[in-house]
Point group: C2
Chain length 411, copies 2
């Protein structure tokens, strides 16, 4: 009998009525003759409430105790969902990461999964039970509770699907498909029936928030078919995310997205010596700051300007780190630009087709939008523009590449 | 270095300010040179909130999923208390029952502890850490989460104290001592400096709610000195509960209490045949209904009336059970009296002194209170009276046995 893993996020289990709705989605799959593992997040605002409780005690809670605290959120939702399924007359059992054996590194608040035991899962499935598994959490070999950080529950679902060799992993969410752009920003965004792991990964990285890049990476690594679908419209097939090799045609452009949470940092007049760039970026990496869109430009004499973007949450930390590096390497001042948006265009077919980048720049030129910085990869082109030009840029690029749907998306 | 176990109930950790107050009580003991294990309950109304969540999903939640749900309450409070202790500059670690290894029977919602591992506790204590342990919860050998039922956190604390051979177990609560009677009912109730396990057990059983009989039983079994004390007045020594053999004198009367939650059930005209009483009470026991104050009186012919009391929560269940038994044994109708209170007088010295029972009956006669039923044990006399006479009965008995304090207790 084939296994289906389903994932339900916090908004899908926000209250009793929604939990019963999720129970229906689970039971529907079970009645299709599947063995079902449902992976759930904490209910709606639970995590925020727990963070506030900790904030009333201390400004800097230790991450080990935060994981102890936050992991209760999923424990509550799995118990309630299991009750809802039993109330509907089906057999189910809720399981914590510690009970399943979802082993992670010994790092708190953003641990990575290293191993998932399948014997307990398989035993309960073979007994005809629906399994409700806690997302977002793990356990170390020493029995310490960890959490997986951003995108954690998606990652749990995909990793369980990989461990059980599941037929597919359905990610239920509050949108009904992946679109060529965010319909709130681009009303004529069109639905995608299928998208490749690589495309989805780039789309997720550049700001399409429907799937976390980490879960897509895991799905790609273990070749788990992912389906993004709506928890409120169970008949909608959603969007299937599969291996590049399974895509029949490679669209030149799959989608576009804008990331409004980046800030640009520039270090001026950096001496042009070997090892200087390595020094800057390894110091940032050691402080766990992810850097994107690095540009180095030669200025007068032997001095470079080095610019890059970081997430706005990392800005203060990055400035602290850079101030000391700057002095050591004898560079000029550090300049920050907060008024930026990163507009990106993604498509696995772009590599074979010249002119995609040119088309993107033309679309923005026609709309009178100034480009502040450009970076490209094999399947992605990103441009920095002023923050208030982001939506206009998205729409003009979307139209240029004929992605527009015939009618506007119903919200 | 000697070990002290402290227990803090839900009202002591109800909010951030109270949690910080508890942290002070813990640190104070640590600074006295003790190794400290603090055992905590769920914060104030958390459990009620969780029960309500389950109630929105189903009327009859399965007890296994209820334990999964309710055990999050203690998990939240241990994480927060550990943060508060760390915020004050001390090393601490919160531990779940599953992490410590508090093993229980495989029974949900009212499991009994069968074994406590001490290696992890001892390791952290030896590293100089304060341990914050989750009360009320346990784990089965199969890794299932259980809860201990009423008085669970007190029981966890005493059992950990026994396992670690602790110097003492301090039960912090919102009252500052054990009294000869409930000061809300008897304003002239006087404080007890020491009380024996047996006396405390009887006082707890007859309605003195400060310590759960189960924790006192465990303390008695393993000879753990228990101290009941106030979490809001750390200088108050409270009341020490110790072995009968350690009491210098046995007071004829230690205290009195009224239990307003009992109901009386009578089965009329029960045939006087061997095995009939056994049949009735084993059937009740099999349904997990505790029975108190059994009286059998011979009526006309070979027919008995059998009367006893049960907790009001067990009433409906008891009536269901008795209706079928009644038919099988060919007895008359089942009669219920809800308008009763059980007034009890407890004292380990009573066994050597005649006249205690007589004094109790006299006190009630002088107050014009009718006694509906009487039951006695070696160190306890209980009388049923009308519910609205309970307080008057308590006061008259309290005065009769010269228990009155010189001044009224300050509330």
């Amino acid at each position: 009998m084939s296994i289906v893993v389903q994932k339900f996020g916090g908004t899908s289990v926000a209250d009793a009525a929604k939990i019963k709705n999720v129970a229906n989605a689970v039971i529907r799959e079970y009645n299709n003759g599947k063995q079902v593992v449902a992976v759930v997040s904490a209910m709606g605002k639970t995590t925020d409430g727990l963070v506030k409780l900790a904030g009333d005690i201390t400004e800097k809670p230790c991450s080990r105790e935060m994981d102890m605290l936050l992991s209760t959120g999923e424990q509550i939702s799995i118990a309630l969902l299991s009750m809802a399924i039993q109330e509907a007359g089906y057999q189910s059992i809720s399981l914590l990461a510690s009970q399943i054996g979802i082993f992670t590194e010994s790092i708190h608040s953003k641990a990575r999964i290293v191993d998932i035991k399948t014997d307990k899962l398989q035993k309960h499935l073979n007994e005809g039970k629906i399994i409700i598994a806690a997302g977002f959490q793990g356990i170390t070999r020493d029995g310490e509770i960890t959490t997986l950080g951003r995108g954690g529950t998606d990652t749990t679902a995909v990793a369980i699907a990989a461990a059980l060799k599941a037929e597919k992993c359905d990610i239920y969410t509050d949108v009904n498909a992946i679109y060529t752009a965010d319909p709130r920003q681009v009303p004529r965004a069109s639905r995608l029936e299928t998208v490749s792991y690589s495309e989805m990964l780039e789309l997720a990285r550049v700001g399409a928030k429907v799937l976390h890049p980490r879960s897509v990476e895991t799905a790609k690594q273990f070749n788990v078919p992912l389906r993004l679908r709506s928890s409120f419209n169970l008949d909608d097939p959603g969007t299937l995310v599969i291996g590049d090799d399974k895509m029949e045609i490679h669209r030149p452009v799959t989608g576009i997205a804008a990331d409004l949470k980046q800030v640009r940092i520039a270090i001026l007049r950096v001496p042009d010596q070997p090892g200087v760039a390595a020094r800057i970026f390894s110091t940032l990496a050691n402080s766990n700051i992810s850097v994107d869109m690095i540009i180095q430009s030669l200025e007068e004499g032997n001095l470079n300007n080095i610019a890059f973007t970081v997430h706005e949450n990392d800005l203060n930390n990055a400035i602290d780190v850079l101030e000391s590096v700057r002095k050591d390497i004898n560079a000029g001042e550090v300049v920050v630009d907060r008024n930026i948006a990163k507009v990106s265009l993604v498509g696995a077919g772009m590599v074979d087709r010249p002119g995609i980048a040119a088309g993107m720049f033309e679309a923005m030129a026609e709309a009178g939008i100034n480009i502040k910085m450009i970076a490209t990869s094999e399947i992605k082109i990103s441009c920095l523009v002023d923050k208030d030009h982001a939506e206009e840029a998205l729409r003009s690029i979307h139209t240029k590449f004929e992605l527009d749907a015939k009618a506007e998306v119903q919200s």
